[in-house]
Symmetry: C2
Subunit: 204 residues, 2 copies
DNA sequence: CTTCAACGATACCGATCGGTATCGCGCGGA
DNA sequence: TCCGCGCGATACCGATCGGTATCGTTGAAG
C-alpha cells in the first residue's frame, strides 16, 4: 500500500527544497525580503527552520537562490520571445515589451522583485546583489543586440530608453491604478522603436 | 557668558527635532528604512531614543515626516524650474529632466527614496504610503499640465512616458556605472518631447 | 533486514527591534 | 527668584530576529 511515487494524502508533496523555494517566492514577492522571517517561510512550506538551514547556508543565500530562479524565468521568457520572431528584431523588442506589459497586473502593487530587492539590500556585498547585477547586465546586452540587429543607429541609447521605460512602468504599478498601464507601455515602446528607426528602415 | 543664541562649543547645535530629521535623512537614504534602528538615528543625531519619541509618535511617523520633507524639496525644485522658464512648457519639461539627471550622481547606488520606500513598505496602511502616493500624484499632474500647455496631442501619454523614463533612470543608478546616464537621460527626454510635438509645433 | 541519511519537531541561543518608565539636570519665562 | 518643561541618560520591557543543537522517526538503498 505504500508505493513510493504516490501518497494517498497530501497529493504527492514536493521535496522540501522546492517547497521552501516556492514559499519564499510567494512571501518575498508579496511582503518583501526583510519583513519575512525564516520561521514564516518554514511554516508556509510545511516544514521547519532546520530543514531550511539544511538546504541553504543562510537566509541571504536563500534570497540569492530565489532571485536566481526568477532571473532564469526571465531568461526563458526572453528566449521564447526571440524564438517566436526569428530574424525580426523589431518584433522581438515589442515581444519583450509585451511580456512585461502583460505581467504588470500580476505584479500589481508590488513591482519588480529585482528593483525591490535592490532597495531592500543596500549592502553591495550581499550575495543577491551579484545575481541582480548579472541579470540586469544580460538583459541589457540582449536588448542592445536586438536594437543593433534592427539596424537602429544608436542601439545602446535606444536599449537604455526601453529599459528605463520598462522599469518605470513596473515601479508605477505599485501606487495608483494599473488601468491601461499595459497598453500605455506598449504604445510608448512602439513609439521609441519607430522614432529610432526613422534613419534606418531595415528589417522590422 | 551664556548668551542664549550662541554657544561657544558645538557651534550652535540645531534643536533636537531637526537633528533627528537630519540624521534620519542620512541614514534612511543610505541604508534604507528597515535596516536603520531608532537607536542608530538617536546616536547620529547626538540625542537619545526618548527624545525621538517626544517628537514623533512612532518610527513609522518619523518615516512619513521624512518623506514629507523630501517631497516638499521636490516641489520646491519643480517650482524653481517652472519659474525659470515662464510660459515655455517645453523648457520646463527639460528643466525637470535636468533636475533629475543632475541629481543622479548624488543618489548614486541608492536610487530614489520614494521608489525604495515603496519597496520597503508593502503595507498600504503605512502612514508613509499616503505621502508617497500624494507626491506621485502631484508630480504627475504637474507634468501632464506642462505637456498640455506645450500643446502636445496626448499629454497623459507623454507625461507617463517621461515619468517612466525618469523613474527607470533613477532605478538604474543603483547597479552598474552611472557613466553618462545623465546625458543619456537628457537626450531621451528631448527625443520624447520632440517626437510628441511633431503634429503640434507651438511654443517650445 | 539492516543501515544511513534526510526529515520533522522542539527547545534554545544571543542580539536587536520598537517602545516605555524614570531619573536628574539646566535653561527660559513669569 | 522660582517654577516647569524640554532635554539627556539609563535601564528595562516583550517580541522577534537569524541561526544552532538535539532529539526520534522514516524511507529508501544496499
Amino acid at each position: 500500500m505504500t508505493s513510493p511515487a504516490r501518497r494517498p494524502t497530501r497529493v504527492a508533496k514536493l521535496p522540501p527544497r522546492e517547497r521552501i523555494l516556492d514559499a519564499a517566492e510567494e512571501l518575498f514577492r508579496s511582503e518583501g525580503i526583510q519583513r519575512v522571517g525564516v520561521q514564516a517561510i518554514a511554516e508556509k512550506a510545511e516544514t521547519t527552520k532546520m530543514a531550511i538551514y539544511r538546504h541553504f547556508e543562510t537566509k541571504d543565500e536563500l534570497v540569492a537562490e530565489w532571485l536566481r530562479i526568477v532571473a532564469a524565468d526571465y531568461q526563458t521568457a526572453f528566449d521564447r520571445v526571440e524564438a517566436e520572431h526569428p530574424g525580426r528584431p523589431g518584433e522581438q523588442i515589442l515581444g519583450v515589451a509585451r511580456f512585461i506589459a502583460e505581467g504588470l497586473p500580476a505584479i500589481s502593487h508590488r513591482g519588480c522583485p529585482f528593483i525591490n530587492s535592490l532597495a531592500e539590500l543596500p549592502d553591495r556585498a550581499h550575495p543577491a546583489r551579484q545575481v541582480i547585477e548579472q541579470h540586469k547586465e544580460r538583459q541589457t546586452r540582449r536588448l542592445v543586440g536586438m536594437c543593433a540587429q534592427a539596424g537602429l543607429p544608436d542601439p545602446e541609447q535606444t536599449a537604455a530608453e526601453i529599459t528605463f521605460v520598462l522599469e518605470g512602468a513596473q515601479v508605477s504599478t505599485q501606487n495608483g491604478s494599473i488601468h491601461r498601464t499595459g497598453e500605455r507601455l506598449m504604445r510608448i515602446v512602439e513609439g521609441i522603436v519607430d522614432r529610432a528607426a526613422v534613419s534606418a528602415p531595415t528589417t522590422r
